[in-house]
Symmetry: C2
Subunit: 633 residues, 2 copies
C-alpha cells in the first residue's frame, strides 16, 4: 500500500490521529519546534513502529532511543500493524532538546487509534483470497471477476434476475474500537462511469429474507454509507451489467473510504481509501472443435428425416438434442443464423450464454423464450444504424480453434470470422461478397485432429473437385451421374461427369470461386498462422446465380461437427462402383484423422433453399479447459 498520510503535531496541545494498519503516517514536527531545539527524541507505546528517514533518500532507521539532530530533512514515519482496542490507546511522544542537555525543552504527544480496513474479493466456495485487488492482473491467481448476470434463475419472473450465486462477493473487513465509528464513516463508492457497468448489493438483513439484499451501487447510485450494524465483516454481492466491447474495457473499480466526521464545523475528510478492481468476464465463443453438449434443430414442414438423422448423430456423439417445434419457428429453419452459443466464466461459476443475432427472423423469440433460463444466459445487440443485412446472421460468425499467430497467443478461439455485428474475440475479416448468401460457413469449417495444431481447416475447393472428376473420367467413369439418388425432388436433373467437365461456364465460374477461396486462404494462413499442412481441400463446386455463388451440389464443408462425429450434407455425387465418389473422397481425407463421416440428406429442405446441415443446426459446447483470465491478451 503506497498511501501515506501526513499528521502535523503541535506544542500547544496533544494531537489525535487515526491510522490504518500497515499504512505509514508521516509525522511533521517542523511546524512547531520550540526555540533553541537542536535535537529530538521519539518514543512510541508498544505496537507503534517508528522510523526516522532522511526524506530525499531511501534509507530509514528504527527511531529507538537515540537523539536525532533536528533538521527539516528528517522525516518521522509511524506504522501500526494491529487495530487498537480503544480510541487513542497508543501514542507517540516527541521530546525536544537543546544540544545534549538531559531535560527536554518541551514535548508533543500524538495519540493514535489504529483500524484495519480492507476491501477484498472473495469466493463463495472456499473463501480463498489473494490480498491485493487494487490493480487487475491477468494470471492464475485472479479472482476479481464479475459475471454479467444475464440468466433467469426464477423462471416465473419476466425480468432478469439477481440470483446471488451468479454474483461475485466483495468483503469489507474493519477492525478497530467501535467508538471510533461514532464520528467516522465508511463509504463504499465508485465513479458514475463505472456505475453503468455493474451493480452492488449489500447483505444487510437477516439471511434468506427478501429484504436481506439492498441494491447500494449502480446507475445513479455512486456512493453508499456502510452501516456499522453486525460485526467486522460486511458482505457485498456484485454483478456485471454489460459485456466488454468497444465502448467498455471490462474493468470496474469500487472503493471504500474512511471519512473523519468528528468535527461538526468541518466537512468530512478522507483518512484512507482501499480499492478493488473487477473485470467483467467476456462472452466467449466456442469453436466447432470443442466437445458438444447439446444440439439444436428446428422441426419444420418437410424435414422429418433430416431431424431424425441429426437426432441419431447427436445420440452417437453422446449429446442432448433440443428440437424447436414448428409452432415456435414458423418454418424458419436457420437456427445457426438466429443465435450463437457461448459461455461466461468466473472462478465461482460458469454458464452458457446465447447471443441472439440482430437477424430477427421468424425464429427471433426462440433464444429469449426457450433458451434463457436458470444458469443459461442471454445477450443480444440491436442492429447498428437500424439496418440488418445477411452479414449480421450468425452463419457469418464463426470462431477458429485456439491458435498462436503473429507472435500473439489467442487461445480461446482465435478469431471470429466474417464481419459480425459484435466482436468479442479478435476478428479476421474475410471476403464473402462473391457468395449469394455470403456466410463464411459456406466455404470454411474446422474439425478436430489428433496431430498438428489439434485441428484442420476445411476449405471448399472447386480445383480439388475438378481434379477428382478428371481422374474419374480418365478411369472411364465420365458418364457417372450427379443427383441420381435425390429423393422426391423433381426440380433437379442429373448431370454426368463428362457434362460437368465440358461446361465451360461452370468451369470458368469455379475458377473464379477458387480465386475467391484462395484470397481467404491466404488471409487465414497469415492471420491464424496456418500452413498448408493445417488445411484440407474438400471437393466442391459452385454455380452462379445473378453473378454470385451458390453450392452446385450440397455444400460438404457446411457440416455439423460433434466431436469425432461429422454430419455432412449428402452430396449426391457420381456413383462409381456403387459408391458416391465425393463421399468416398471426403472419407479418405477425414477418416485418417479419426473422424466418422455421416452423410445427411438435406437436399430438399435445406440445400434447395441455399443452406445446409450447419445452417440448420446449432450446438452448445463445453467451455475451454483453460481459464480466459490465465492468458494475457
Amino acid at each position: 500500500m503506497s498511501q501515506q498520510r501526513i499528521v502535523r503535531v503541535s506544542l500547544e496541545h496533544p494531537t489525535s490521529a487515526v491510522c490504518v494498519a500497515g499504512v505509514e503516517t508521516l509525522v511533521d514536527i517542523y511546524g512547531s519546534v520550540p526555540e533553541g531545539t537542536e535535537m529530538f527524541e521519539v518514543y512510541g507505546t508498544p505496537g507503534v513502529d517508528i522510523y526516522i528517514s532522511p526524506s530525499m533518500e531511501r534509507g530509514r532507521e528504527r527511531a529507538d532511543t537515540r537523539r536525532w539532530r533536528c533538521n527539516a530533512g528528517l522525516e518521522i514515519i509511524v506504522v501500526m500493524n494491529s487495530p487498537s482496542n480503544d480510541v487513542n490507546d497508543s501514542h507517540v511522544q516527541i521530546s525536544y532538546y537543546s544540544g545534549h542537555k538531559p531535560l527536554p525543552l518541551a514535548y508533543t504527544v500524538l495519540y493514535l487509534t489504529c483500524v484495519d480496513i480492507t476491501l477484498d474479493c472473495d469466493l463463495n466456495c472456499d473463501g480463498r483470497q489473494n490480498g491485493s485487488f487494487r490493480q487487475w492482473v491477468w494470471g492464475p491467481m485472479v479472482w476479481a471477476i464479475l459475471l454479467v448476470n444475464c440468466d433467469r434463475d426464477d423462471v416465473n419472473c419476466d425480468d432478469r434476475d439477481n440470483y446471488l450465486e451468479d454474483m461475485s462477493v466483495m468483503v469489507l473487513r474493519t477492525q478497530g474500537p467501535a467508538a471510533l465509528f461514532d464520528d467516522h464513516r465508511l463509504v463504499l463508492h465508485t465513479s458514475s462511469y463505472d456505475a453503468k457497468w455493474a451493480r452492488v448489493f449489500h447483505a444487510c438483513g437477516p439471511e434468506d429474507s427478501c429484504e436481506a439484499y439492498r441494491h447500494v451501487l449502480g446507475r445513479d447510485k455512486v456512493s453508499y454509507e456502510v452501516p456499522r450494524s453486525h460485526g467486522d465483516e460486511e458482505r457485498f454481492f456484485v454483478e456485471g451489467l454489460s459485456f466488454p466491447d468497444a465502448g467498455f474495457s471490462g474493468l470496474v473499480s469500487f472503493h471504500v473510504t474512511l471519512l473523519d466526521d468528528s468535527n461538526e464545523d468541518f466537512s468530512e475528510s478522507p483518512i484512507f481509501t482501499d480499492t478493488v478492481v473487477f473485470r467483467v468476464a467476456p462472452w466467449i465463443m466456442t469453436p466447432s472443435t470443442l466437445p458438444p453438449l447439446e444440439v439444436y434443430v428446428c422441426q419444420v414442414r418437410n424435414n422429418t428425416r433430416f431431424v431424425d438423422a441429426v437426432a441419431e448423430l447427436a445420440m452417437k456423439a453422446g449429446c442432448k438434442l433440443t428440437i424447436c417445434p414448428q409452432a415456435e419457428n414458423r418454418n424458419d429453419r436457420w437456427i445457426q443464423d438466429e443465435m450463437e452459443l457461448g459461455y461466461v466464466q468466473a472462478p465461482h461459476k460458469t454458464f452458457p450464454v446465447v447471443f441472439d443475432s440482430p437477424r430477427n427472423g421468424e425464429l427471433q423469440d426462440f433464444p429469449y423464450k426457450r433458451i434463457l433460463g436458470p444458469d443459461f444466459g442471454y445477450v443480444t445487440r440491436e442492429p447498428q444504424d437500424s439496418s440488418v443485412c445477411g452479414l449480421d446472421s450468425f452463419g457469418n460468425l464463426e470462431v477458429s480453434p485456439p491458435v498462436v499467430a503473429n507472435g500473439k497467443s489467442t487461445p480461446w478461439g482465435g478469431s471470429s470470422l466474417g464481419q459480425p455485428a459484435w466482436r468479442v474475440q479478435p476478428p479476421v475479416e474475410l471476403f464473402v461478397d462473391w457468395l449469394a448468401v455470403g456466410h463464411v460457413d459456406e466455404f470454411l469449417s474446422f474439425v478436430p485432429a489428433p496431430d498438428g495444431k489439434g485441428f484442420r481447416m476445411l476449405l471448399a475447393s472447386p480445383s480439388a473437385c475438378f481434379k477428382l472428376f478428371q481422374e474419374k473420367r480418365k478411369w472411364g467413369h465420365g458418364r457417372a451421374l450427379l443427383f441420381e439418388g435425390v429423393v422426391g425432388n423433381n426440380q433437379v436433373s442429373t448431370i454426368s461427369i463428362n457434362q460437368v467437365l465440358s461446361n465451360e461456364n461452370l468451369i470458368s465460374f469455379n475458377k473464379f470461386v477458387q480465386s475467391c477461396v484462395d484470397w481467404n486462404r491466404e488471409v487465414l494462413k497469415r492471420e491464424l498462422g496456418l500452413t498448408e499442412r493445417d488445411i484440407v481441400d474438400i471437393p466442391q463446386l459452385f454455380k452462379s446465380e445473378r453473378r454470385k455463388a451458390v453450392a452446385f451440389f450440397p455444400d460438404l464443408v457446411n457440416m455439423l461437427v460433434l466431436g469425432k462425429h461429422l454430419g455432412i450434407p449428402k452430396p449426391f455425387g457420381p456413383i462409381i462402383n456403387g459408391r458416391c465418389c465425393l463421399e468416398e473422397k471426403v472419407r479418405s481425407l477425414l477418416e485418417p484423422l479419426g473422424l466418422h463421416c455421416t452423410f445427411i440428406d438435406d437436399f430438399t429442405p435445406y440445400h434447395m433453399l441455399h443452406g445446409e446441415v450447419h445452417c440448420g443446426t446449432n450446438v452448445r459446447r463445453q467451455p475451454f479447459s483453460f481459464k480466459w483470465w490465465h492468458m494475457v491478451p
Copy 2:
C-alpha cells in the same frame, strides 16, 4: 507487403493474371500437371522475377534456367516491380519434362499485367512521405495524422467548414496500362465504424471550383468507386470528426481495393488491397508553465481597475489581451470556468481549440460566437446524465507541466486534475469536497522555474501562514491588521494577527484544511513523481462556510501565470514596516525563481464572490515544442 495471391494455371489454355508491383504471386501448377511429369522449368520475360521455394521452409532460390523436380512441396513465386505498358505484355512459361529428356511433355503459359497501386499519406507542404501507412506507429516519422476540422475558416458561414488546408492529404497512385481499367475497378472503402469518425473528400473537379471536392467517404458512405479520370494520381482530403476519447481510440483506416470485374457472369473479386491508417490528433491542454500568447478577461459592472491591471500585466508579458464585453458576458466573470484553451497539432498544421465546458452560464455563447474562427477550433461536450455540477467548471480542469512519473513519460502535460467531464491527458483525481466551490485551482498552481523539473507546484498552506504570523507576533507585530487597505468595501472588518492566532475555531478549521491539502499533496507527489523540493508552500488561510472552506483572505495560489510574470490576488495582509507581510513572504519564495510578482486587487469583484484572479482570466498558450506523436503513450 505481406499480401500474396495464388494463381492456378492450367494445361488447356493460357491463364491471365494481374499482379501488383512488389507483391508476390504464388503460381500453383499442381492442379494440372501432365501425366509422367518428373521435372519442370520456368521461364519469365524480362521484368518478371521468379523464385522457387520449398513451401514449408524459409529459403528460396532464383528459378533461373534450372530444371526442378516436380513435387507438390515446391512453390513458384512470381514478382514484378514495374508496371506493364500493355495488358498481358509479360508472361511466365512452365515446361513439364519426363526426367531429363530434352523435349517437354507440355507447357503452360501465364500472361501477366503488372500495376502499381499505393495509397499514401502526403504532406501539403513538401510532399514528403514515409512509405508504409498500413499500421500506425508512434515516432518522429509519422505523418498519418488527422485534425478534427473544428475551426471556422469562412466567418460568414454558420456551419463548421471543410477548409482544405486543415485536412490531411491521402494520395492514390496507380500506374499500369489504361486498358486494364476497362474491366477492373478501384474502390476506396472503410468500415461503417471508422466512417463515423472521419470524412474523405475527392479532388475530382477543376481546381478552385466549388464542385472540385466531392464528399466520398463518411457517415453512410463506406465505399467509393474511384473514377479513372485524370492521370495516375488521385488526391483525397481527409478530416477528423471527433476527438479521441473513451469510445474512440483515434485510429481510422482507409483501404483501396483493386477489383476484377472482367467477367460479366461472375461477381467482382479482389486482387489487391492497400491501407492507410490515420490517427486523429488529440486535443492537448496547455499547463500554466507554457509561454502565454493571449489573455482573456471579462469586463463586468465593477471590475474596471482589475481589467486595467490584467491588461498591464499582459503587456509586460508581451501577450495579446482580449476583453469580453459586458454585453456578451452579462456580468458572468468566471471565464476560467467557461472554457479551456488547448490546441491540436498535425505535421501540416497546428491551431488552438477552445473546449467549451458543460457549465453553460451567462458566458455560454462566448466560446462559440467569439473564439471560434479561422484557425481557431471549438469543441464541447454536453453534460453526462443531463446534470451539471460545479465540478464540470473548468476551474476544476487543470494540467500539470510535463512529468515523468511511475516509470511512464507523460510529456505533454501529465495529468488533468480534478474530475473533469472529459479526459484527454491521463487524469489524477484529487479530493476537493472540503472546498465550498470545489475547484483544484483554489489550492494548487504551477509556475515555471529555472531548475529542478522546470517548474514548482504551489500549494495553499495554512500551516505556513500560522508559522509566518507567529513569527510576526514574536517580533512585536501582533497588532498589525489584515484587510486594512481594502478599498470601497464595507462588508469586511479588519482583524489583527493576535486575533487570528487566538481564534480557536479558525485555527482548528485551518488544521482541517491543512489535512485536506496534505492528502492531495501526497496524491500529487505519488502520481506526478514529485518530491518536497518541487513544492512551495504559499501561506494561506481558509474559513468555514457551511462546513466547507473558502479563502479567508484573497487566495494567493489562484494566480494568473504569464511566463515569469505572475498576477497574484492582493492578499491585504498585515502591514509591517510599510509592507504587506504576506506579499513579502510570497516574493521571498518566488522571486528567487526569477519570477515577477504583481499583486492585483480582486477583493470586491472576485474574492467576495469566492473567486480570484485565476478564476477571472483565461490564457491561450504556445503549444509544446515537442510533437505529441513523437512519444509512445
